[in-house]
């Protein structure tokens, strides 16, 4: 199953305004310390990197470990510059990648 994610970005913002961004991803963030039903250790597998690009420029990067809760969620902020697109990319320890994008309209 592909990684399901939800992002929340305001559709519109005034230039210079600071707006919140929220992202939530369905992922078990396996710590590597948990046994399965047969007592075998489930290998560590967490989303280790998440980036956000704003019109192509990386504006945020999260490096995460097993101390981040399952189904990780994150809120951070950006200053509105120009209309365009926010692109979120992430990858877990197993190499599985996910991506989401959100348009934003910036008014004067």
């Amino acid at each position: 199953m592909s990684m399901l994610a939800r992002v929340q970005v305001p559709a519109q913002a005034r230039r210079g305004d600071v707006f919140p961004i929220r992202i939530a991803i369905q992922h078990s963030m396996e710590t590597g310390y948990r046994p399965d039903n047969f007592g075998r250790r489930i290998p560590k597998n967490v989303i280790n990197t998440l980036t956000c690009r704003y019109n192509g420029v990386e504006v945020f990067r999260a490096e995460m470990g097993s101390g981040v809760s399952a189904n990780p969620q994150l809120q951070f902020y950006l200053r509105a510059e120009n209309s365009g697109e926010l692109v979120f990319d992430w990858v877990d320890d197993s190499g599985q990648r996910g991506s989401e994008r959100a348009p934003i309209t910036v008014t004067a």
Binding site: F19, E63, S66, G67, S69, A70, Q75, F76
Partner: protein, 147 residues
């Protein structure tokens, strides 16, 4: 939480420029961890608010807000925020790269907290200085588990 925050703010103003490593000296593990984050640079207490419930409902998912007092301009901004939970099996919880385009030196997330402990956040600013804040979290256990 508000009482803790008040205590925290009081301690911030009192210790504003005190080297934080002095506080860490009775705790070599914490000292080593902080040195790793700051790459040996001086670390001061203040400017970093760690906002989390004093009593967490479940250690698997503890809400956490880190707010760094910074104008977030090109000349003066937060470069990085690192979250540490020294009693977790892997104490470095997460690290976030920010910049002037962030507009606000703040992140909100949820973390795993393995034990009653201090959650520490270290902010690296654009002038190369390091600042830290912390909050004490008590994790409670459920009465009814699955197995």
């Amino acid at each position: 939480m508000s009482a803790d925050r008040r205590r925290f703010l009081v301690s911030c103003s009192a210790l504003a420029l005190a080297p934080a490593l002095a506080l860490a000296q009775q705790n070599p593990q914490r000292e080593a961890l902080l040195r790793e984050v700051t790459r040996g640079a001086a670390l001061r207490i203040g400017r970093v608010l760690v906002d989390t419930p004093t009593l967490a409902d479940n250690g698997h998912s503890v809400p956490l807000r880190i707010a760094v007092d910074s104008p977030m301009t090109a000349a003066d901004h937060v470069r990085r925020i690192t979250i540490l939970a020294e009693r977790n099996p892997r104490p470095v919880v997460a690290s976030y790269a920010l910049g002037p385009y962030s507009g606000r030196g703040e992140i909100v997330t949820r973390i795993r907290v393995a034990d009653i402990q201090d959650i520490i956040a270290v902010a690296e600013l654009s002038d190369g200085s390091f600042w830290m804040g912390s909050a004490h979290v008590i994790v409670t256990e459920l009465a009814c588990l699955e197995g």
